[in-house]
């Protein structure tokens, strides 16, 4: 990636490529094309459906941001050559643990959140450790945790509270500094000003009359952007990023050249668990309750976003920006279909067609440009 001046001696081991070609073979190219296509489509067909008013934009932005948070973790893990199918169950489980710690046991919310993060990251490490130690495919190991974590998410509240939804988190989280970091909203003043200036709609009745319908940027979106920047810098600007690529590309070759492959993979499992917990904490803080069925199918949605974003399922290739664009496409299409008033029973058909189309397109673009077979 370095743009060394041409006077310096050219290393004969590095193949030279034109800048245009360099731009084309980026993994996120497919994601960029898809994003433009998707927005063009919905601007044409759904412009006056409310999709692009302030409420509508916030709606699909939040959904996309949710996908982005878990996609960043899934993306880095996939590039390092492993899978995590337990993401969705992890979301349900960690959300439930926060609720149990804070509501049932009465711990301060910041302590509940920190403990849950520690617990989740340890489970991620355990996932990674089992995969490395046994040499089993991560697909199977994390599938086991998919069952185990979902089982606990149903069992624990059943035993402790005799129900599968624990509420009342909003009350105990009132004024908690760490809770705000996940469930709060920033720039509320700006949005109030926009509402007062008539640039965005305001509530017309009720206790919130006069307040803008969108009253701030949720921390969920801040987390998504922060994680994307972190993941992108980590992957493209650091030595560790090269190790991630190397571990997924050819683990044996990487090991022989001194890359701590095991450490890298375990750390990536931990990071994926961390991302899932961020997702769960934001959700619990926003809605004020944890339920045993939260996060159903989210592991697949994370993988879909990553794959739409151009990453290879086999590892060693992909980009965080691509995954973020994949998440954006997925979120916009998913909510956009509702705005377009598409028959809801066809919803899954559309998602399947889009996934297939995106992957085929990505593969062809890559083959045409890189000339690989």
């Amino acid at each position: 990636m370095s743009n060394a001046p041409t006077e310096t001696a050219v290393d004969e081991r590095v193949k030279s490529r034109s800048r245009f070609r360099e731009a084309l073979i980026r993994p996120e190219l497919g994601g960029m094309v898809g994003t433009v296509a998707v927005f063009t489509f919905f601007l044409l067909f759904a412009f006056d459906s409310g999709m692009f008013n302030s409420q509508g934009m916030m709606n699909w932005s939040i959904v996309s941001a949710q996908f982005m948070i878990i996609a960043v973790g899934a993306c880095l893990l996939m590039i390092s050559g492993e899978f995590d199918l337990s993401v969705g169950s992890m979301i349900g489980f960690t959300g439930m643990m926060i609720a149990i710690f804070s509501v049932t046991l009465g711990w301060p919310v910041w302590l509940a959140i920190l403990t849950t993060f520690a617990l989740a990251v340890s489970i991620g490490a355990l996932n990674g450790f089992i995969v490395i130690r046994t040499g089993l495919p991560s697909f199977i190991v994390t599938l086991a945790f998919w069952f185990i974590l979902r089982g606990f998410a149903i069992f624990l509240p059943q035993v402790i509270e005799r129900k599968t939804i624990i509420g009342g988190i909003k009350d105990v989280a009132e004024g908690d500094w760490l809770a705000f970091l996940f469930g709060g909203k920033i720039l509320t003043g700006v949005f109030q000003w926009l509402g007062d200036a008539g640039l965005i709609a305001t509530f017309t009745r009720g206790t919130r009359e006069g307040q803008p319908v969108v009253d701030g940027i949720p921390m969920l979106i801040v987390w998504a952007i922060g994680l994307i920047i972190f993941g992108h810098v980590l992957l493209t600007k650091t030595k560790f990023g090269n190790w991630i690529y190397a571990s997924g590309g050819d683990a044996e070759a990487a090991r022989n050249s001194g890359v701590p492959v095991n450490k890298v993979k375990i750390l990536m499992f931990m990071f994926t668990a961390f991302c899932a917990t961020v997702f769960a904490t934001c959700q619990v803080m926003e809605f004020g309750s944890a339920a045993a069925d939260r996060g159903l199918l989210k592991e697949f949605e994370a993988i879909i976003a990553v794959v739409i974003g151009g990453a290879l399922l086999t590892g060693g290739y992909g980009s965080v920006l691509g995954a973020a664009l994949g998440a954006l496409i997925f979120g916009v299409v998913q909510q956009g279909l509702f705005f377009l008033n598409v028959e809801p029973s066809l919803f899954r058909v559309f998602m399947g067609v889009i996934l297939l189309g995106a992957v085929i397109l990505n593969t062809y673009i890559r083959r045409i440009i890189t000339g690989e077979r």
């Binding site: 409310g50 409420q55 916030m58 149903i154 809605f287 339920a291 069925d293 909510q335 598409v342 899954r348």
Partner: protein, 316 residues
């Protein structure tokens, strides 16, 4: 390569056709969106879809049905927000979890969209979120009434086949039934899952481990249909006391055959149909009934099954 291009073009055309149909089909008149908490796989909600479609046709208004595909209530909150953003005249929604859904519903009310709570929720909750009214069957009360009835028939223990364990109202039904009988719920409620084969085998396993069980309570067609098969398989059909919530084709057959003693009909048709009629008249002429509407419970027994049989799964 060209064949791929053709295929992609064809796929795009196929994918786009319903979109066009949907965008051009919007007629004049009011627009109402019904948001449910049910996953795609729950067949019971078909009656709801037919109910709003019929009401939309008769009243000359646009109606839409929306649900979270996997039944995740957090996704449902997003759908309510999305429905609000699309600017309908009214939203008809279930209130499956007050913590999750009250925020988006209040936002809808405050931005000028009228809301009616249907099916799940309570009259109190409906008032708190600022909805016009509640149309449905109070779940705990219905379970309690069923429990009293079963107690009168000499039942002392039961198995509650819960196919939707994460939905609080499912548990209220079982809890109400237990309280009506005057027994502890305890381990008499099983998490049956959604898969028919799994439900059938869990019921078989429970009944072989607890052969003294007096009664079976199922919570809808999803759990009732496999339970009927299970009872036929282990020979308890017609012998064990069997009551169920909600109706469906197989349940009606079961009642007729004497396998099922009664079904509790909450008349979902009314829960979907009446809100559309009430809101349309409210928006057109400003008239509004002064109270909540109880669509159930009604006990359906072997007497007078004809009409139910004719429309089961469609309007009943």
């Amino acid at each position: 390569m060209t064949s791929l291009t053709k295929k992609l073009a064809l796929a795009a055309a196929v994918a786009a056709t319903p979109l066009m149909a949907a965008t051009t089909a919007s007629a004049e008149g009011e627009k109402y969106i019904l948001v449910s908490h049910a996953p795609d796989s729950d067949s019971w909600w078909n009656t709801i879809k037919n109910g709003i479609a019929l009401a939309g046709e008769q009243m000359g208004v646009d109606v839409e049905y929306r649900n979270p595909p996997s039944g995740d209530l957090a996704d449902m909150a997003r759908i309510i927000e999305q429905a609000t953003a699309s600017g309908p005249n009214g939203i008809i929604t279930t209130l499956a979890d007050y913590d999750v859904l009250s925020g988006p519903i209040k936002s809808a009310v405050d931005s000028g969209v009228d809301v009616i709570i249907m099916n799940t929720g309570s009259p109190d909750q409906a008032r708190e979120v600022g909805a016009l009214m509640y149309v449905g069957q109070p779940e705990y009360d219905a379970g309690y009434a069923a429990g009293l009835r079963a107690k009168g028939d000499g039942v002392g223990s039961f198995l509650c086949v819960n196919h939707y364990i994460v939905q609080p109202s499912s548990q209220e039904r079982c809890q109400g039934f237990a309280d009506g009988l005057g027994v502890e719920l305890g381990t008499q409620m099983i998490d049956a899952g959604q898969d028919p084969a799994e439900i059938k085998n869990r019921v078989l396993a429970y009944l072989s481990a607890n052969p003294d069980t007096d009664a079976v309570l199922t919570l809808g067609p999803t759990s009732a249909d496999p339970t009927i098969l299970a009872l036929e398989e282990n020979g308890m059909a017609g012998d064990i006391y069997f009551g169920t919530f909600d109706l469906g084709g197989e349940i009606v057959k079961g009642i007729k055959a004497g396998v099922i003693q009664w079904g509790i009909d909450q008349q979902p048709f009314l829960q979907a149909y009446l809100p559309v009629v009430v809101m349309t008249n409210y928006h057109r002429y400003g008239v509004l009934p002064g109270n909540n509407i109880n669509s159930g419970p009604g006990f359906v027994t072997a007497d007078g099954l004809e009409k139910i049989e004719m429309f089961a799964g469609e309007y009943r």
